[in-house]
């Protein structure tokens, strides 16, 4: 047992090292567009892991991710933009103190963004987490919509419908994958701990969990807050990555994309979320092709706006109708399963 643990630790270290080398290589050799896709993959994995913690592991059907992301993105953007830039940016109405003067380094800004989102998660979670199933979904969706309406209507804080432009693009590949790594480690440690077992117990049978003496509400609330924290972090990184945010960005569609990754990967599977995060981000970018006009020889095929989401939503429908458990179900790819695979092959030969 102890040997295996040591082995896994070494292998994980090697994997992370190899991936870091890959990032070095990518930074030098890949063009800006591909780097951008890699960045989006990291952010999407952060977002999907946080939703998987909330929905897949703790069984709380939350549709409020866009709201937490918005809080994170606005908090971070307000902190990393220098005061002078903010003065020029707020053309509707001047920014309110303290938003006009506050300034912080990127790391602090992202952490604060996460904390603000977690705070919002606790505030909204306290009342609504008592609700079950679909009602929780609709209540959290309502929360996200309220955040969006607020962002539209508080011009002295959010610059109203115009949003922010020219947010400093600090979120490079190292920040994004760094945060992705932190999220991954924390979520993995959480779900494999005693705390995680309690969460899964609540998900599978709340009444039984309560009868076993688990304070279900407290467990759910902490899971919700941690999930919201990383949703806020993801939103903050996304804002800096895209360098522009506005209320329209945080529509329900954003939550839908994250939900799609979680469902496609498998509820309650971390490796599934990572695999689906990569596939779906690449797929979403690749599908942009169908919306752009193409010229093949003499034929001109006009782009079809909307086609991308048609294909995407059909894909979700196919998954939910024909492979409800997603790519991985609740299973994980671990070093054990990898070795088992090789061993089996060896025997067959």
């Amino acid at each position: 047992m102890e040997d295996k643990r040591k082995r896994n630790l070494i292998l994980n270290g090697l994997l992370v090292g190899a991936f870091a080398l890959f990032l070095f290589w990518a930074q030098v050799n890949l063009d800006g567009y591909k780097i951008q896709i890699m960045n989006l993959i990291a952010v999407n994995i952060i977002l999907a892991l946080s939703l998987n913690l909330i929905y897949g592991f703790a069984g709380m059907f939350s549709l409020g991710h866009a709201g937490f992301m918005a809080i994170g993105a606005y908090t971070c953007a307000l902190l990393i933009m220098p005061p002078l830039q903010k003065q020029a940016l707020f053309i509707l109405e001047p920014a309110m103190w303290p938003f006009s003067v506050m300034h912080a380094p990127f790391l602090v800004a992202v952490i604060l963004a996460g904390l603000m989102a977690a705070l919002a998660g606790i505030l909204i979670g306290l009342p609504v987490l008592r609700l079950g199933g679909d009602y929780l979904g609709i209540a959290t969706l309502g929360f996200a919509e309220i955040i969006r309406v607020l962002a539209n209507n508080l011009p002295r804080m959010t610059n109203g419908a115009l949003g922010f432009k020219g947010i400093p693009d600090y979120a490079n590949i190292w920040w994004n994958y760094g945060w992705c790594f932190i999220t991954l480690v924390i979520v993995v440690r959480l779900v494999n701990s005693n705390y995680g077992n309690a969460l899964k117990a609540i998900r599978d049978d709340e009444v039984a969990a309560r009868a076993m003496g688990i304070n279900t509400f407290r467990y759910r609330l902490t899971a919700f807050a941690i999930g919201s924290f990383f949703a806020g972090v993801g939103g903050a990184l996304l804002g800096s990555l895209l360098t522009t945010i506005d209320p329209k960005m945080f529509l329900f569609l954003l939550t839908f994309n994250v939900l799609m990754i979680v469902v496609a990967g498998g509820l309650g599977s971390i490796t599934g979320t990572i695999i689906a995060g990569v596939i779906i981000t690449v797929l979403l970018e690749w599908l942009r092709i169908v919306e752009n006009p193409i010229t093949i020889g003499e034929f001109y095929i006009p782009g079809i706006p909307g086609m991308r989401m048609v294909v995407f939503s059909l894909a979700l429908l196919f998954i939910i109708l024909f492979r409800r458990q997603g790519i991985m179900g609740r299973k994980e790819i671990t070093w054990d399963t990898v070795f088992a695979l090789f061993r089996k092959r060896g025997v067959e030969k």
């Binding site: 609504v128 609700l131 679909d134 609709i138 059909l314």
Partner: protein, 297 residues
């Protein structure tokens, strides 16, 4: 505020309220029977509106015929959605069907963008609906008289079906207990299809009148009215048709009156309903007229 202004606002409020009510009925009927929040209902509403104006402008149908054809086609679309996307998931966890309905919602919305294009289209309204009637100091848009009356008639028709016909009896039986109804010989799938058909027809009627009231067509036009009507259904007590009507009317009246009396809050218009939703869910999740649902764990 003068009396005349107030009366005008009241007509507007009743119009908006009855439009919400018609959509809310579809949500509440489906929820009552399947315990499913049909996210795609707002898109059905949108399709109804588009179909009519296509019938009128492209096929040159007379208005009343276009309306009937559009309602029929939308109704069939609703049945089709149930058949393809919900029926295979009857025995799956409830959230699966909900996710499926979110998928259908985005699918229909974007299909509408592909087919109808995302550019908002203006609606040509027949003159007799929009030539303002002046009574004393009150100026009334005829539309705001027609919509509540028509909606009321549709609701009476619905209540007749639900309470006086055999399929209606089936619906009520299924909403009490789907398994027992099946054992008692109720053709469950057919009744559910009928429920989707009726709900979609009412949503289409609402969509058409909405497009006349706010004369613009957009593929995303169903999203916000859909959410609000769902909230109205929860407010009235989900599962109860009378509750959906009451909730829709109250929500419509509240929305118009808050904006009328407190114009500074107009920007928050779309947030009222959601705040209301969270409050209801906390204070009285069964809504105004809802029956106490036992905890379905």
């Amino acid at each position: 505020m003068s009396m005349a202004m107030f009366i005008q606002h009241l007509f507007n409020a009743l119009t908006l309220g009855s439009l919400y009510a018609l959509i809310a009925i579809g949500y509440t009927m489906v929820y009552g029977i399947l315990r499913l929040i049909n996210f795609a209902h707002g898109e059905i509403f949108m399709l109804g509106a588009y179909f009519v104006f296509w019938g009128v402008t492209l096929l040159h149908l007379p208005w009343f015929l276009a309306v009937i054809v559009a309602i029929a086609v939308t109704s069939l679309t609703g049945v089709l959605v149930d058949r393809v996307a919900y029926r295979p998931l009857r025995d799956a966890p409830r959230i699966s069907a909900l996710i499926s309905s979110i998928g259908v919602s985005f699918f229909l919305q974007n299909l509408a963008i592909v087919v109808f294009s995302a550019i908002p289209r203006e609606v040509q309204r027949p003159g007799w609906l929009v030539d303002i009637i002046v009574v004393g100091k009150v100026r009334i848009l005829p539309l705001t008289l027609v919509v509540p009356v028509l909606s009321f008639l549709l609701m009476l028709g619905l209540l007749f079906i639900v309470y006086k016909t055999k399929p209606g009896l089936g619906m009520r039986a299924i909403s009490k207990d789907i398994e027992t109804s099946r054992l008692m010989g109720v053709p469950v799938n057919r009744i559910i299809a009928l429920t989707f058909g009726i709900g979609s027809a009412l949503a289409a009627a609402s969509g058409i009148m909405w497009a006349l009231r706010y004369p613009q067509l957009q593929p995303v036009m169903g999203v916000i009215p859909g959410f609000k009507a769902f909230i109205a259904a929860v407010f009235g007590g989900i599962g109860s048709i009378q509750g959906a009507v009451l909730g829709g009317l109250i929500l419509g009246i509240m929305e118009i009156m808050i904006v009328a009396f407190l114009p500074t809050l107009a920007g928050y218009r779309d947030a009222f309903a959601f705040v209301l939703l969270i409050i209801i869910l906390l204070v009285k999740p069964t809504g105004l007229l809802g029956e106490k649902l036992e905890d379905k764990v």
